[in-house]
């Protein structure tokens, strides 16, 4: 028996298709506690690889024989070793190619909806990091919103669809992941938009993303309307697409709301956050479908793999939209915040264009959960 090699794409399908999987995670305990591959029907065993150097016999009784077993480590090496030991012991086992590093980078494009006149809306789900990017396609043209740094994925996808990328937006200056936006724009000749309030320190050229900006995609004119909605950052901007979808960036998520502290000024921005969530969004149609820039837990995924929910439902169900008392709201989003994302300050510097670390360092900076929300 030999160990099988699985790609991150294969594991992603298992997450989205709600399949069962047993994951033997051989990283350190704290790394596993901090961040792991999440699936609705996944079971786990965490035993650091260095406890298995003398053999896997001791853990064999803990591994199921009626389920597929995937060995996972940080980069790959240890999981290959352990998977081969399992295979030698007569067990079927696979390892994840590229380890958690590749899991953190993998994007799964999922179609959210067909738009008017043959248009399409895609959500790019980065399962390992909880980032969501979007592509609007209509009659040979495309717009991208909140692209993560794997620019090839978006450029290749557009090619496959036979569309030209014309507009690239970032809803805000990201602090949890490195944006691919301006690089995609540079490679394709598209216009790159960023809210000017978030761009005071950036060192590259951009087009100002302002309230009420309206961009048409394709000849049949799918509307992309900007809506200034500060609070996560001072420049945070939402988009209403085709009068049906509300892209909320990091302001409103399915089961949580944005945190105002990643630029270091929570107290200043909490009022803006309240105003956006409790006043600006309240004026919108409840039938808009909310498409956020992140998800935090796997339960936020719908059956089809998308992360999307009717705005009216969120007004009823999302705790962060139901805190009547302003003072209590202030406390909720400024006290007891979760730890800040890995390297968030340095990631902001990268997104401002001030530093340009190499590919490996960028990967290291983004390892771990995104932690953009307050529940």
């Amino acid at each position: 028996m030999t160990a099988q090699k699985w790609s991150a794409a294969k594991v992603a399908r298992k997450v989205i298709d709600n399949e069962e999987l047993f994951i033997l995670d051989v990283r350190n305990e704290d790394a596993f506690q901090d961040w792991k591959i999440e699936g609705h029907k996944f079971d786990y065993l965490n035993v650091p690889y260095f406890e298995l150097l003398d053999g896997v016999e001791e853990i064999l009784p803990q591994l199921p024989t009626d389920k597929e077993v995937l060995v996972v480590c940080a980069k790959e090496g240890s999981s290959v070793m352990v998977a081969e030991m399992l295979a030698e012991a007569g067990r079927e086992a696979a390892y994840l190619k590229g380890g958690m590093k590749s899991w953190s980078s993998y994007l799964e494009p999922v179609k959210v909806a067909d738009l008017n006149n043959g248009g399409e809306l895609y959500q790019f789900v980065r399962l390992g990091k909880g980032c969501l990017s979007y592509m609007v396609i209509s009659e040979g043209e495309a717009a991208i919103i909140d692209a993560v740094r794997f620019t090839d994925v978006f450029i290749d996808f557009a090619k496959e669809k036979g569309v030209e990328i014309k507009h690239v937006f970032d809803t805000h200056l990201h602090a949890d992941h490195i944006s691919g936006g301006r690089h995609i724009a540079a490679a394709t000749g598209a216009t790159y938009y960023l809210p000017p309030e978030d761009a005071t320190e950036v060192v590259f050229e951009y087009t100002a993303l302002t309230d009420d900006l309206n961009v048409k995609i394709g000849a049949s004119q799918i509307d992309v309307n900007a809506l200034y909605s500060p609070g996560h950052t001072i420049g945070s901007t939402s988009f209403v697409i085709d009068d049906k979808f509300l892209l909320t960036g990091d302001i409103l998520f399915i089961d949580s709301i944005g945190r105002p502290d990643l630029a270091g000024v929570a107290e200043d921005w909490v009022g803006d956050l309240r105003e956006t969530l409790y006043s600006r969004y309240r004026k919108l149609a409840e039938d808009l479908v909310v498409l956020p820039a992140h998800f935090m837990i796997i339960d936020e995924l719908n059956e089809d793999g998308t992360v999307a929910r009717r705005l009216g439902d969120l007004f009823k169900e999302n705790h962060g939209l139901n805190i009547k008392d302003e003072e209590e709201f202030r406390r909720t989003v400024t006290d007891n915040l979760p730890p800040q994302p890995n390297s968030h300050e340095r990631i902001r510097q990268v997104n401002m264009g001030k530093v340009a670390p190499d590919h490996n360092e960028q990967t290291e900076m983004e390892i771990g959960p995104n932690r953009c929300a307050v529940r």
Partner: protein, 183 residues
């Protein structure tokens, strides 16, 4: 550079090899001695730390120099409970109000990653040959990690005519005061 008894070159190797090699190398090392592991895999620090504690070695620390990580691990951290034979002991609290020489007899790498300011380092294994560096009339407070090696060291000094020797109990593992690093 921090002194170690044995060096292992694991540069350029990816996980799991730094830990695998360390595990093999430390087998041949005498209990209580220090292994230096040179590695370039950034994950090796967390892994060696966790591995060492899971198998009962003492992870001392890591120094990074020009993209190379130098990890220091002392074989076997569970010091045997030996009957203390030296009569003249003082506590860590008392030590703070005394003048004289603090003699740290732990391995050089243990000393490097944290010692009391002003303490002199002579590892237990070198004490016999370096005794002439010490003044027989000075008050000498011998300290190690848990009080065992310092007990042996104090006996050795007393047997060689040192009059004012004290064994500090328990040792650096209970010292809450300031420490200095030396690398």
């Amino acid at each position: 550079m921090i002194k170690a008894n044995h060096h292992l070159d694991a540069k350029g190797l990816a996980c799991p090899m730094p830990v695998v090699k360390t595990k093999n190398a430390i087998k041949d090392l005498e209990e209580g001695l220090v292994l230096e592991v040179q590695a370039t895999d950034k994950g090796s620090k967390a892994d060696l730390t966790a591995w060492a504690s899971s198998v009962g070695h003492q992870y001392l620390g890591t120094v990074e120099e020009a993209d190379v990580l130098y990890h220091y691990i002392r074989k076997g951290s569970n010091e045997p409970k030996v009957e203390k034979a030296f009569g003249q002991n003082i506590s860590l609290e008392e030590l703070e109000s005394r003048d004289g020489l603090i003699l740290d007899v732990r391995e050089a790498a243990e000393y490097a990653f944290g010692h009391i300011e002003g303490a002199k380092s002579i590892p237990m294994g070198e004490l016999e040959s370096r005794m002439q560096e010490l003044d027989k009339d000075e008050e000498i407070y011998v300290i190690c990690r848990t009080g065992n090696r310092s007990d042996l060291a104090a006996q050795l000094l007393a047997d060689n005519g040192f009059k004012n020797v004290y064994n500090v109990l328990s040792g650096m593992n209970e010292w809450n005061g300031k420490t200095t690093k030396d690398f």
